[in-house]
């Protein structure tokens, strides 16, 4: 049986900021990641305005995001294929907080988008749409940045908009 009174000292934020001794530190770490073989090629494709997928001939899946291996069959994927920049909303949210849970004015609309011609979905954003009009299953199309602004990043697609 648990004792009725358990150990642990609850602090209010005032107590933490003003009364108890505390220590502050803000770590600053920087990274540079090679995008690798499969995602490197995928990002090069985005720069050209194309969505590239890798195909496993064993299970027949067309994989987005692409990989050099199929994790189901555990073998190398066989070929690269270009898929469409259209798809279907698998699920979405309308988000009013940022990465650190701070309130934002304009909501972001993250969604999982099933890319046409592939067996996969990707995480991206929806735009040029009233959140109230979005439905799961809705057809959407990528809105690309102008060619000269594309750098080989997932954000080369600004967002997906209703088709």
């Amino acid at each position: 049986m648990l004792p009725e009174k358990l150990p642990g000292t609850k602090l209010s934020s005032k107590e933490l900021y003003e009364e108890v001794i505390s220590v502050w530190h803000e770590p600053k770490l920087e990274y540079r990641w090679s995008a690798g073989i499969a995602i490197g090629k995928f990002l090069s494709g985005l720069k050209e305005g194309k969505i590239l997928a890798s195909k496993c001939d064993n299970c027949g899946r067309v994989l987005v995001p692409p990989r050099i291996f199929c994790e189901w069959c555990f073998r190398r994927t066989d070929e690269w294929v270009e898929v469409k920049d259209t798809g279907r909303v698998n699920t979405f949210s309308v988000c009013y907080i940022d990465v650190a849970a701070r309130r934002v004015k304009e909501p972001q609309i993250p969604a999982v988008i099933e890319i046409d011609g592939s067996n996969g979905g990707i995480l991206h954003l929806l735009g040029e749409v009233d959140p109230k009009e979005i439905e799961i299953g809705m057809r959407v199309k990528a809105v690309w940045k102008p060619k000269e602004e594309r750098i080989g990043a997932i954000t080369d697609i600004k967002y997906f908009k209703p088709l």
């Binding site: 358990l6 209010s12 987005v64 940022d98 959140p131 799961i136 997932i154």
Partner: protein, 386 residues
Amino acid sequence: MLRRVAIIGAGMTKFMRRAKETPKELTFLATRMALDQAGIEISDIEAVTLGTAPDSFDGVHMNGEYLIDGAGGTNKPYIRVFVGGGTGVFSVIHGWKLVSSGAFDSVLVVCEEKMSSCYPHPQAAFYTIFDNILERPLGPNLVWIFALEMHRYMKKHGIKKEQIALVSVKNKRNALDHPAAGWGAKITVEDVLNSEVLAWPVQLLDISPPSDGAVALVLASEEMAKRLTDDPVWIDGIGYCLDTAYWTNRDLYYPKYVEYAARMAYRMAGIRNPPKEIDVAEPYDPFDYKELHHMEGLLLCKKGEAPKLVEEGVTERDGDLPVTPSGGLLGVGNPIAAAGLMKVAEIFFQLRGEAGKRQVKNDPVTGVAQAWGDLMQIGTVVVLRR
């Protein structure tokens, strides 16, 4: 030949938004209580398993090593295990392996989380769990994935927010009777539906709060358990399974990996009909819809039918299948790894008839506890019996 493994003692701190104690101090307080409850000393413990979630909450790299002294691991075989939110239940699975294999007769399982040290909000630490190349540039936060999963689940089965909110109402109310609880409250469905929208369909009262706290259990071999207690609680089944990290390639409406983990644990425990044979359940409830999702993954009902059980009162403490009698993460609090272990501790107390005001009414013999985590991809399950 695997040996039977028992739980013979449990201890915990309060769960709170901000603790004065350091992570190491919280860990010690819970561990000391577990030893006292089991009636043994640290010298009787042969090995220690520690669970804690990402290092980034505590802001201490190699958190396992940092916590060793508070967990009673000094100069013993000691290891930290980590599978995100699934850690609390996984730490018991790891401790079970150590004892069932015959390697050790007594193992401490300790879980700690102190999330409040991370500024401005522990949410920021979750950013780094997303794919560094394809997802982080979109500016994701952790609530996104829950919102996306919850929405998919609602759409697939035509489930309403009102039905899901009932879980938050139940668990926060149950938590009023838990001595560790930081968020016990009497709220209504309307309170949930009127709370701040964070990432639709997720609102503030759909979510468990970031918390500080620690929990510890003592595991023992059959021989040792029978020497020390008349009421051992047996770990009769364990299971765990991870799905792909390419989470956008899965259909999020159903946690298949939880089902696989549950089937593994049920097979080991000889359970063929989970809804009939399980008397009390503690599925992981970091969000209200997750309890429903996990009841389905644990095969306690058919896909899409969990909301009905909640509506009908089946999952109340006096219902046929009490679910989260502790108050769960939504009500007791969610110091991640510690919260999962609290769920196992609750089944331990329930099966011993020691849950006090929280005691379920169906004289339970068999219970299941489950946790979930990583990138929405792991299920960890233990089946306990008295």
